[in-house]
């Protein structure tokens, strides 16, 4: 259905960010940038959303939350990492409580740079996300899922923290 194809709803989750990127995500929905004119609605409900915007890096405590939100979303879905922190851990990469970017937990489709990310970049990233969403939708019609390309995430996932790799920590943690 082409008429429903171009207005994705987004859900935003703030990992361990400094807040700078979060307020820019919100600013993108307010009058100056106003993504709602493209039909992009910021929803609080993961089940309604097509695109997950993650700001901030992930740590042991929010790994299960990110995973849960991702799993609650319906296929097809797209993940956008907003800002340097979500892409790679950013300035907090070396902190003891930072595992890395969002891609250590969920497959990321679009990496949007910036510290803090600018609202224009967010809009660009969402537009890119729409394309990918479209591909996934087509694939889903043919009963296949587009497998995420995890090769570029591998080095982040192989990092060893406290004797475990980041990927192991991410897959072992659960919500209490």
């Amino acid at each position: 259905m082409s008429s429903t194809g171009k207005s994705p709803w987004i859900v935003h989750y703030d990992g361990s960010s400094c807040n700078g990127c979060d307020i820019e995500v919100l600013a993108a929905t307010t009058p100056l940038y106003d993504v709602e004119r493209f039909g992009v609605v910021n929803t609080g409900n993961p089940k309604h959303a097509d695109i997950l915007l993650i700001t901030g890096s992930v740590n042991e405590q929010n790994v299960p939350v990110v995973k849960q939100i991702y799993e609650q979303m319906m296929e097809p879905k797209v993940v956008i990492a907003c800002g340097a922190c979500a892409c790679s851990g950013g300035i907090f990469r070396d902190c003891y409580n930072t595992l890395g970017g969002a891609d250590v937990v969920v497959p990321v489709d679009v990496y949007a740079p910036g510290c803090a990310i600018r609202p224009e970049t967010i809009i660009d990233a969402v537009v890119k996300g729409i394309e990918i969403l479209e591909q996934k939708r087509k694939a889903l019609k043919n009963k296949t899922l587009v497998e995420p390309d995890v090769s570029r995430m591998q080095s982040a996932r192989d990092k060893v923290v406290d004797g475990q790799t980041v990927a192991e920590i991410a897959s072992n943690s659960t919500l209490e």
Binding site: G20, D22, I23, V65, T98
Partner: protein, 361 residues
């Protein structure tokens, strides 16, 4: 009626862009206790002071919180300057406080918008954020960044604002006030806003004092806690400074205090601009921080923040510690949540203007 239910609130909740998690113990519709669970945004950035040298750490300190980013770089710089005995040029002190007051305006407008969103007044939310863009434009013009400014440095500021530009900023702020008046009228006089805020989260002055609340949260209960009154930096050059206080102590009072502070900040900026001296803006620090400690305070939009640094003679500081406003105010939040209606929980959380990322660092 001793049937208690525990309802989890958050961490991902539409009312705040940040994750806050509370376990709410309910009896029917009343909250009897709220138990916070922290750590979702903990990064541990105090510790990397051992890995980044003291000049680079300004940029990390700035990212304690993206809303009061300028204030945090200011607090850290003040602490290191105190430790090293660096003299800050006078013009730089004025510029710092101008940026700091601009941050306060942007932070309060942001909060007013979130509050309006919290009680379902979408239009007001959009209007407040539209006005906020005026301040962000000023930031972008003067520093290049919208939320992370990277302009404060140890020994002064990285960029000067020339005097024409300063006057242009005052004009922009006048425009902001023109647009601000109608929305404040709605916030303060609209019956539906009153019905959502009156009596919400009442806290008496004694309670506020016992909990050592900081910032507008305490000031709305009549607690005079504004650090700007002691006159550090260019604040000492102001002809007069009257903290905005209220004796009502509820959500409405907190809104009123913050609304008045925006107007006050504009006046402060104008006064600073009229008095700013010419001169250099940066005095390069020499050598490494010596052995010793230093503690300083800054009035952030959300209240007093305390910065502590400990040097050991090398270029890496031994310890950096920050006590941020919200970590102090969380105790007040748990207090006002006791006995409130379940439906009012989001509003109660909003009225204290929580900043989780600086609480957890």
């Amino acid at each position: 009626m001793s049937n208690k239910t525990v309802i989890p609130f958050g961490p991902q909740h539409p009312v705040l862009p940040e994750p806050i998690h509370l376990d709410l113990v309910l009896e029917d519709e009343k909250v009897v206790q709220a138990v916070p669970q922290l750590g979702f945004i903990h990064r541990g950035l105090e510790k990397i002071v051992e890995k980044r040298d003291y000049l680079h750490f300004v940029y990390v300190a700035e990212r304690i919180c993206g809303i009061c980013s300028f204030g945090h770089s200011l607090g850290y710089s003040q602490a290191v300057e105190g430790l090293m005995g660096v003299e800050v040029p006078e013009r730089a002190e004025y510029l710092r406080d101008i940026w700091q007051e601009l941050s306060r305006i942007h932070s309060h407008l942001l909060w007013l918008g979130l509050l309006a969103d919290g009680f379902g007044y979408e239009n007001l939310f959009q209007q407040a954020w539209r006005l906020r863009e005026i301040v962000l434009n000023i930031f972008e013009k003067t520093t290049g960044g919208r939320v992370i400014l990277s302009v404060c440095n140890i020994g002064g500021v990285n960029r000067d604002i020339d005097n024409d530009e300063l006057r242009a900023i005052c004009d922009d702020l006048d425009k902001l006030l023109d647009g601000y008046k109608p929305i404040t009228e709605t916030f303060l006089d609209d019956a539906s806003v009153h019905s959502r805020l009156d009596g919400v989260g009442y806290l008496s002055k004694e309670e506020a004092e016992d909990l050592s609340l900081v910032g507008p949260f305490g000031r709305a209960s009549g607690l005079d806690n504004d650090i700007r009154s002691i006159g550090m930096g260019a604040y000492g050059k102001l002809a007069a400074f009257e903290p905005q206080l209220s004796n009502i102590g509820d959500g409405y009072a907190r809104t009123e205090v913050r609304i008045n502070e925006v107007v006050q900040s504009v006046q402060i900026i104008k006064e600073l601009v009229s008095k700013i001296p010419d001169g250099p803006v940066y005095n390069k620090p020499k050598g490494n921080p010596p052995e010793g400690r230093f503690l300083t305070r800054v009035e952030q939009p959300r209240g007093e923040a305390v910065y502590y640094v400990k040097g050991n003679g090398s270029k890496f500081l031994e310890r950096f510690r920050v006590r941020t406003p919200t970590s102090q105010n969380l105790a007040g939040l748990l207090k006002i949540l006791q006995g409130c209606d379940y439906a009012d929980v989001p509003l109660n959380i909003l009225t204290i203007d929580p900043c989780i990322s600086c609480t957890e660092r």
